[in-house]
Each structure stands twice: as structure tokens, then as C-alpha cells.
């Protein structure tokens, strides 16, 4: 059942980023580049998604400690640690995002296009993830 839910949700996510145009770096950069002909689409995507996800957290709150229907448990309160790792990581991510116009989810979906630049981006992204895993293996902070 968990497999079916994950498959369905991956499919819904993919449809969402394809329909909204967020799988196209040119469209994402149309928002991030304030110097060019500006495109507010990304902002509307975020606003639409946030409005719905706020309701999802309401449902989680209403469960009042009862577990989810399909196993596991609801996440506890979010961490409040603000450190260099969080801020530095977000800055590095912003740098890469602003340069290429891909964030992780849409980049994975766009692999199916087989475009060289997309494959290069995703290969490097996976290497970056593996690098952090390798370096922080002894670090039990996660």
C-alpha cells in the first residue's frame, strides 16, 4: 500500500511540475532574473501549493496524536536550530538554482527528456549529495 501511495504521489508531483512549467529552467529563471522580461509564474505556483499544504498540516493537527492511516507517525515539531550549516547550505543551493534554474524535483523529472544539460546537472547533483554523505558519515547530526 505504501508503494502504491508513493507511486501515485510521485506521479501527481510530476504532473504538477510539468503542467506549471517548473520543469523548464527558462521559466524558473524568467522569475529569478529580475533584469529580464519578468515572469511571475513561479510565485503563483508557490502560493497555490502553500495554500493547500497549510490545510494538510491542519489535518495532521486534527489527528491529535493518532498515527497516520498507512503506518509510520506524524512528524514532531520542526527543529529550531539556526546554524551555519542551514544558512550556508541554503546559500549554496540558491547559487546553483539561480545559475541553472533547476531545483532537485523538477530536475529528476526532466531526466526523461534526455537533454545533455539536464543529465549533466542531475549527475553533478547526485555527486554533490554523495559528497555530503561521505563527509558527514561520522557526524550524527542528522
Amino acid at each position: 500500500m505504501n508503494a502504491a501511495i508513493a507511486l501515485l504521489c510521485g506521479a501527481l508531483f510530476s504532473a504538477g511540475v510539468c503542467i506549471s512549467g517548473m520543469v523548464r529552467p527558462s521559466k524558473v529563471l524568467g522569475f529569478l532574473d529580475f533584469g529580464g522580461p519578468w515572469d511571475a509564474t513561479l510565485l503563483v505556483v508557490m502560493a497555490s501549493a502553500l495554500a493547500i499544504h497549510v490545510l494538510a498540516w491542519r489535518v495532521v493537527m486534527a489527528a491529535r496524536g493518532r498515527p497516520p492511516a498507512f503506518g509510520g507517525q506524524f512528524p514532531g515539531p520542526p527543529s529550531t536550530v539556526i546554524d551555519a550549516r542551514l544558512l550556508g547550505g541554503a546559500a549554496l543551493f540558491g547559487l546553483g538554482w539561480g545559475l541553472a534554474g533547476y531545483c532537485p524535483g523538477p530536475a529528476i523529472v526532466a531526466v526523461v527528456s534526455g537533454a545533455t544539460s539536464t543529465l549533466v546537472f542531475v549527475g553533478a547533483m547526485l555527486a554533490g549529495i554523495a559528497l555530503v554523505h561521505a563527509v558527514s558519515r561520522d557526524d550524527s547530526s542528522e
Partner: protein
């Protein structure tokens, strides 16, 4: 405004949120995409993540077959910079423990201070980077 597609944005945004909302409500998981992908490269609970990515690629393939213009064929910057950008996105999202979906969507919608701050930082740096790159390219 250039290339603005608000209806597609509303529908797409709603589908993105619905996907993560069903994961959260049905299984208790915050399925931020950098976490899903990174989890596939680490020991542990890989199965659901693999199914999630399979769903992404399956629907992506349908769009590629039915509407290939859904995707960009070329990048804005030369390939070595694309590779650098990929590396930065991989390292950065792992260090910050989230990306546009994990911090930007799941975190902000429950008013997590970490997520709000992280999102302000990556949007700020993203806008600065893309704007400066645009000035250099134009």
C-alpha cells in the same frame, strides 16, 4: 508580463501540494524532493522513495512523448557551469536539509523558522545569481 501562465501555475501548484499532502497525511512523511533523492543514495528506507521517483519518471515520460516542449532542450549557461550548479544544488540542499519543496513548501506551511529563513536565503541568492548571470549574458 512575459510568458505568464497563471492558470497552469495554479493547477500545477495544487497538484504539487496534493502529492506532498497525501504523503504527509497517509504515511506521516515529509516528502521533500531533495530528501527523497538523497534517501535513495543512503542506507535505510529506500523502497517508498524508489516508488515515488518511479511515479515521477513515468508521468515525465508521458509528457515527453505527448508534449516534448514541456522540457527545455538547452541550458542558459555553458555545460561546465551547469555541472557546477548541479554540484552546488546537491551539496547545498543536503547541508540545509531541504529544497524548494521541503523548506519552501512543507516547512513554510507549518511556519517552521528554519524553513522560512532557509527559503528567504535561497530565493535571495537565487534571484541575485540569476539577475547577475542575465546581465553578463545580455
Amino acid at each position: 508580463m512575459h510568458d505568464f501562465t497563471p492558470v497552469h501555475a495554479l493547477v500545477g501548484g495544487a497538484l504539487i501540494a496534493l502529492a506532498l499532502a497525501v504523503m504527509l497525511i497517509a504515511t506521516g512523511r515529509i516528502a521533500g524532493l531533495s530528501g527523497v533523492v538523497a534517501g535513495l543514495l543512503a542506507a535505510g528506507d529506500r523502497a517508498w522513495r524508489a516508488w515515488f521517483v518511479a511515479g515521477m519518471l513515468g508521468v515525465g515520460a508521458v509528457f515527453e512523448l505527448a508534449a516534448p516542449r514541456t522540457f527545455d532542450a538547452v541550458a542558459r549557461v555553458p555545460l561546465p557551469l551547469v555541472a557546477l550548479a548541479g554540484l552546488l544544488v546537491g551539496v547545498g540542499t543536503r547541508l540545509a536539509n531541504g529544497c524548494t519543496s521541503g523548506h519552501g513548501l512543507c516547512g513554510i506551511s507549518r511556519l517552521s523558522k528554519r524553513s522560512i529563513l532557509a527559503t528567504c536565503v535561497f530565493f535571495g541568492v537565487g534571484v541575485a545569481t540569476a539577475t547577475i548571470t542575465g546581465m553578463v549574458l545580455r
